[in-house]
Symmetry: D2
Subunit: 277 residues, 4 copies
């Protein structure tokens, strides 16, 4: 499938998070350890919020991340307090820019690892459930973008956890109606530029891996010698498909069937259940 | 919009038709004379039938045709009795391989120049009219591919002119219902590998340019010195968005609101009217 | 050939200069008015200095600028006090990232419009004149990059006008030795992040067009209603292959055989003559 | 490094060799077993001879082979008696079409797996040894292309083994002069469309893996039920970086420091030693 990371906190050069860690996302594009595929070379994307513009910038390419010079240039020169990065392993849909994550709608960004099982069989039915005005903005052919537009249809911009729960319920119900036993497999990140939600859920309750970084003040106590930890704020957080390195104590697993919120004032974890409106 | 050509006749190196003529399609990609845009640099495609396989090969790229080395290699080494070539000028939809022409379904190839007016407003409604089983195979986001799948839904594989007439009727009716005065503008080529149909139609009766080559025996009489004309069969035909050169007597305009058939035994031209089932 | 622009002054979103003007560089990629070619679709590049890193970021792509979504994203979110942008029309050398401008060496950026006449015949001889240590860093196959590395060899980092004069002399001398009457045609921009030099020269004294923007305070007096002019500093300057619009009084031609310097304290124009060491 | 295969024999659809085998070259692009890198996703190329043109067609792309639809189209429709295919894992040089294999000069094709150790340090010196007329045709920046042009300089078109031996001697001598202990590592395939030479050599005598297919009549006796073996001529041969499957008896290792010739009348293996003129 794919791998992703989401960063929120003290503004840093993207490079600090994307390239420098020992098992960085760029390294994962060649050598994922926990993914279904070891290679994630079917496109990538990075989306970041800056100081001057409300909407995020989103740069997406169809080649592998590991050899992309433009990504390295951008990462080495752009600083951001909140950004997403995603590397893709296609499960069959076309390798094209409009199928690369993150997806954007206004100020909102969305990225996903996982799949809707037998998506091609229920794609049309799901498409019909998307608000007709929103439908116009769908550009690609992935299940991931469809999930985003369903969530938008169900009120993502007002109540993200509720909208994602309704989307998940629709996907599961539609899948079941077509005889699919386990219709949904997802780790999703979504943000409007200030708060960040991350969901881990699958119909089978065997969701793809997802981790969040330990509280910075705890890490500082564990590793008093790490300069980087002194430079970032207490509220800085990373959420990742797989840990970026082996630093003891640095990573916590996001529990099965939960979602986390990263926000000013501190993060929270809640349980997650698909739910009809 | 776009430019295209369709060739049927004595097997030739694609190169002979694609690159060598004075105002070849490759030249048109930089300097179209009759197109809405002079530059057609938003992708291209070529599709050809060979001797060993029933379905056509289709090679499509998102860059300009004029600087593409692979196209030149293929054109210089592949010989075919029936092929399509298309250069694209996007009117807004994404520049991606799945939006490049020709499109394929089984043995069938389709390409288009023109547009459905205000497509984004009626895209969803047209998508609903596509046979649900066929819908699964739509990969891109263009009006051209939608027209193809509507025509397939309406029996293209059994009666191409009737299916295209029904597609055109649906597009016009749907457009009119949404207050669009002139919903359809099209020159379309379609083939199953033996016969070739070319349609020229627009709601406004001001269709994009379309030409067919004069009968080869007539041309031979006019230009007894042209070696190329002695090498090709009487039934060889070209249909093109704009003439490939200034050879006197070589090109005839396809009349407004008609379609032509190129087939063993000789071509024909018929009038074309959108028509409900 | 190509088209380029160089901006120095009040930090702006790249977008303000690259996309918004009436006859922007992006528009010139499709419809150049003064270029040798009307279409500049064989790649592009943008290089900018930021606040946090000494070296410029350089993003280059092999497709046309006009349909590139990543360029639009970057331009809409990155702000810079000094940046270059270049659109390419290849005269035969490969369309590849390492042949796109700007080129970088350490803090220095270089871009070029023009050509070394019959470059392929003297390429080897020029290559031998490049400092062997610098030679290692040449990645592409263009005359433009070779000119940069020759100028670096001749002391560009210490005295740019003198180094460019020596490079030009070598190119002319070598060309003449091979019977080329007019070996050099160039408009070149080069910077280290603070000052900016722009050269206009050709052996034939018929150099490609080059313009610089009128002093901002003069423009403000001419156009007191233009908000943009009140937002930028007196020292802001643009140097462009062709004017970005028709604003009366806004553009001055860089004279034949001269170079200009844009720097804190005010710009200057000097005469330029190729000169042996 | 890279992986490659060379086919000579009964004309087949490229697809038969490139995609259908269990551990095909396309599979090796994601999961190489014997390569230095498991992923070979930095470009690919295929070159084939046809019936109508003397020079080979060469199609090269900078993305991974595994997700390239055009390669699949070509492979599914082009038939050839002699073709090369190559998948690249860059060791640092730019990912661009001119760095993808195979390389072509007139009727000749060349591809390589391996490296010149510390190539950047001796690149200039090797470049100077290339015939100045040939030098003009070098387009990329790889050691592999340089080796090809050195071999051409040393008479490849007259006596391939002698020319490759001189090239190897020059590379080793130049490397040693710069203090490189083991300058050369190579498996090389070269052809003019009729005969095919494959070299396996390294300064350290630990060369990259290389295999050739067992004589077809022997394989038929071993596997009387395999239809494919009855369809191909006795003289059909494959040379590959790693075996395409586990068929018992199908693959023989090319011995260290040897080269093989595939030619009408039967193949041969000879020892190989770098040798000054």
């Amino acid at each position: 499938m794919c791998r992703w990371l989401a960063y929120s906190g003290t503004p840093v050069l993207l490079d600090t998070i994307l390239y420098r860690p020992q098992h960085s996302l760029i390294d994962q594009s060649l050598h994922s350890r926990m993914g279904v595929e070891t290679t994630n070379g079917d496109g990538f994307g990075v989306g970041w919020y800056g100081r001057h513009v409300d909407t995020p910038a989103i740069v997406r390419e169809i080649g592998p991340a590991w050899n992309n010079r433009n990504l390295r240039e951008i990462a080495g020169h752009v600083r951001s307090p909140l950004f997403f990065a995603h590397i893709r392993a296609s499960t069959g849909t076309a390798v094209q820019q409009t199928n690369c994550h993150p997806f954007r709608h206004g100020r909102w960004m969305w990225m996903h690892n996982g799949a809707i099982a037998e998506f091609h069989r229920i794609r049309r039915e799901l498409a019909l459930a998307v608000d007709p005005d929103l439908f116009l903005d769908i550009e690609g052919s992935t299940d991931s973008e469809m999930m985003f537009y369903l969530a938008l249809t169900f009120g993502l911009e007002k109540d993200p956890p509720a909208a994602v729960a309704r989307m998940a319920e629709l996907v599961e119900r539609t899948g079941h109606e077509h005889g699919v036993e386990f219709p949904l497999q997802m780790t999703v990140a979504v943000t409007e530029g200030e708060r960040l939600w991350a969901f881990r859920y699958s119909s089978q309750k065997e969701s793809r891996s997802l981790f969040y970084s330990t509280r910075v003040e705890t890490l500082r106590a564990l590793h008093p010698d790490m300069a980087f930890l002194r430079e970032i704020s207490d509220e800085t957080r990373l959420i990742v498909s797989e840990p970026l390195g082996d630093l003891p104590g640095a990573w916590q697993e996001v529990p099965e069937s939960t979602y986390g919120v990263v926000q000013p004032g501190g993060g929270e974890i809640h349980s997650f259940t698909p739910q009809a409106a």
